[in-house]
Amino acid sequence: SAVISQKPSRDICQRGTSLTIQCQVDSQVTMMFWYRQQPGQSLTLIATANQGSEATYESGFVIDKFPISRPNLTFSTLTVSNMSPEDSSIYLCSVEDLGAVTDTQYFGPGTRLTVL
């Protein structure tokens, strides 16, 4: 299975600032995804990070607020722009693994963001 790392693991930010979260995979993958998990809640898909093209956003999420980059097959970034306390969440990236038997996603450890 793919090994995924995220940076930073956590951060505390001021209202109105922006934070860029990095996701690094130890192998080339086609699909990468970004999720948000608010305190005590389930995961919500933000967008699909497409290599070489713009990300595909889910309903309720826009590029101006959550710009995503995918410069190659092992790396992606998610920026949380103009932050407010409502953006305090755990942000997770995942990659799709098209295995011979299973098709699943592997998740990074997450980035815990607190906005003051």
Partner: protein, 111 residues
């Protein structure tokens, strides 16, 4: 995409077998069923995946009836370390499938 329904929470004791059932009445012909486990402050971890009948691995078993409108994750002889949230998802394989998580089941294993 098929919506899933799970119990919000379950309690169990160490050494017991735990069965968590997921309802997915609108599952499509090409959909597979996947279960994830999530510990606090960690990303979800893949447990098991299946299409029909029964699948077993070193961690759990997955039972899927013929109509596939539900599935049951079975954890044999749980320990305190199995306390986690368990998510059931359905989706089509090999189609760059996007995962939509339901509410999950919070399993609390007591000594």
């Amino acid at each position: 995409l098929a919506k899933t329904t799970q119990p919000i929470s379950m309690d169990s004791y160490e050494g017991q077998e735990v069965n968590i059932t997921c309802s997915h009445n609108n599952i499509a012909t090409n959909d597979y069923i996947t279960w994830y486990q999530q510990f606090p402050s960690q990303g979800p971890r893949f447990i098991i995946q299946g299409y029909k009948t029964k699948v077993t691995n070193e961690v759990a078993s997955l039972f899927i009836p013929a109509d596939r409108k539900s599935s049951t994750l079975s954890l044999p002889r749980v320990s305190l370390s199995d306390t986690a949230v368990y998510y059931c998802l359905v989706g089509e394989l090999n189609n760059f499938n996007k995962f939509y998580f339901g509410s999950g089941t919070k399993l609390n294993v007591k000594p």
